[in-house]
Assembly symmetry: C2
Homo-oligomer: 242 residues x 2
Amino acid sequence: MKHKFKPLDRAPVYVKVCNAIEEDILSGILKEGALLPTEAELCTQFGVTRSSVREGIRLLQQSGLVARGAAKRLVVKSPKASEIAETASRSMALGGATFGEVFETLAMLYPEAARIAAGRLSDEALGALCDVRDGLRDAPPGAADEIVSYAVEFFQQLASGLDNRVMLAMLQSLNLMIGASLRRVIDQTPNAHERILGAQSEIIEALKNRDKNQARAWMTKHIEDLRRGYVVAKVNLDARIL
Amino acid sequence: MKHKFKPLDRAPVYVKVCNAIEEDILSGILKEGALLPTEAELCTQFGVTRSSVREGIRLLQQSGLVARGAAKRLVVKSPKASEIAETASRSMALGGATFGEVFETLAMLYPEAARIAAGRLSDEALGALCDVRDGLRDAPPGAADEIVSYAVEFFQQLASGLDNRVMLAMLQSLNLMIGASLRRVIDQTPNAHERILGAQSEIIEALKNRDKNQARAWMTKHIEDLRRGYVVAKVNLDARIL
DNA sequence: ACATTATGATTGTCGGACAATGTATTTGTG
DNA sequence: CACAAATACATTGTCCGACAATCATAATGT
């Protein structure tokens, strides 16, 4: 019988360093907040030079698994939804995602999110939504930037209230991607202020009444209204987000 | 009047290197597939040492913006949906996402995805779905692994057919997260093979008829069926994915 | 006891060196 | 001349050593 060799692991050392540390984090040996050894210590433990260790650390750093904490020590981090959303949205933007794709996904997700929210939102979460609505109500007329930020913040608060980190990460990444384009839309839409305010109020009302269908319906209308804004503002839906 | 200084940029050099290159990619100066200079060349251009350049490259590398191409040269990459999905799902797993959160999100997204698919899926995409279904049909009984992979592949093909990279990335990340747990569920569910096969057939039928409501309804049933499997298999929905 | 200073540890950056590897060029041969 | 083989070259991966900057801790002075 012919002996067979396993393929050798020819990955660069810095990749191996990254994988080794990552493995211990994944397996729970290194829990969140744990301090990693110093670079010098890692060198002796792995038997490699500091350059390689440092390059490995950069890989871990960018994937959000470790960060420099107090006293510059390396601490194990567990990626937060907002960070995941940020890197995902950035990657999609770079990957050439278009307004159309983002908006369609938004239109697919948020009505369902509203339906779920109607059955779950805590009083605090509802209060936060009301605060956003009130902030929008009191916004000075013509302040497009403020209107946009309140509009996005409304989505943001709704997503937060769902108490589901996976949903939150996805919805947040959409919020990040839609933010920039929304500015253009609201700039050119008359009555944007009132229309958004009205939609938010109706949605809040439905959420308060725990009326899932109503919440979903109003969210659908709200988004449909935004979509019309895109048409009015002549945003090219095939254009890349940037 | 008191002169005011802007806060100095005290970021480490390797971060600046990363940002500088990233900026040129983002602004379109460096398009996808473009070759970056060699490390030595970057050193002279930035006026820093190779160590710093290399650490900066690691950051870019992990964020999926560059990769080593032919002849080891650095080439600009635009992140693909599958890569975004992979890093996102990994991050969420590390961030402590639970089966419950993933499954709830799945149950929220896929019925809507099916509805959209009914109005859009190309013949090729439908054919791919049929292929998956046929593969599942011909799978030997008791081959849990195969059943799982066909079940996931069905979701995968459906997502691909939507022709929306943002949706695709999100759905794919769910697929990755659900994969492992599905194995346990199907292992312990009697008739899983037939039930999944039946659901796939019904969904395909609805898609062929361009019947959005029917497609959505059957997908909902399909997922509800999987949910029952989770209960039967006594999967703790509050347990972390790992 | 508390503020200040000295000490030490650690990271960030530099410079140079060399082996491994893949590319490009030259050379040899029909 | 065409094509294969050998050579030279360029580039990355890895190592080593050094030092300034920064921050934490210990020592010191009042």
